[in-house]
């Protein structure tokens, strides 16, 4: 297994739920090549909120089936503290999906895979750190 990978943001998760076949091919191909993917649960919840019940099933099935995908919880103080450190630096009210993606990206030291780099413009403008983004279109 490749010891590093990508953190998936909410834009990627939403498109996967919407059955974007190109993105499904890419993510399953990552998994088969042993590229790890991480899904922060707050981004997952925000994506689910934007999807219909049938689309949610697709997203849940994907996170259950892929071998090298892991859900990143906020289950203990350490994760809550990491999230709080990012949230405190954001424009308020904080974009919690983005905050969790950044917290996980910083912790794992993996770049963020996004379907829309523009989604990050406002977030990046207010943060003191560089957000390491790879847009799906950059891989073409």
């Amino acid at each position: 297994m490749i010891p590093f990978g990508y953190v998936l943001d909410d834009t990627v998760l939403i498109e996967l739920g919407r059955r974007d076949l190109g993105l499904h091919r890419l993510i399953v191909s990552f998994d088969r090549a042993h590229v790890r993917t991480s899904v922060p649960v707050i981004a997952f919840a925000v994506a689910e909120a934007a999807l219909s019940p049938d689309q949610r099933l697709v997203l849940r099935g994907l996170t259950d089936v892929l071998e090298h995908l892991s859900l990143e919880p906020v289950a203990a103080h350490t994760e809550a503290v990491r999230l709080a450190e990012v949230t405190a630096r954001m424009e308020q009210p904080a974009d919690m999906a983005a905050a969790h993606v950044i917290a996980v990206s910083q912790h794992l030291d993996w770049p963020v895979l996004t379907a829309d780099a523009g989604r990050w413009d406002t977030v990046k403008a207010h943060l003191p750190w560089r957000v390491d983004l790879v847009e799906v279109a950059d891989l073409n």
């Binding site: 590093f4 091919r25 090549a33 099933l57 099935g61 089936v65 891989l139």
Partner: protein, 55 residues
């Protein structure tokens, strides 16, 4: 009651897996597009390796 809840959980999980597998089967029908996805994955791996090498 607990058995019922567990059964319900398993049913939901199975439905979700089936929903994903159906999408995946559809995605894999286009073998040329799958080959393109593998090439994009190679680029994604090169980005990760370059990032690691730059540290």
């Amino acid at each position: 009651m607990l058995t019922e809840l567990l059964d319900q959980h398993e049913t939901e999980k199975t439905r979700a897996r089936l929903a994903y597998q159906e999408v995946l089967a559809h995605a894999e029908e286009d073998t040329e597009a799958m080959t393109q996805a593998e090439r994009r994955t190679e680029r994604a791996i090169r980005i990760l390796r370059a990032r690691e090498a730059g540290r």
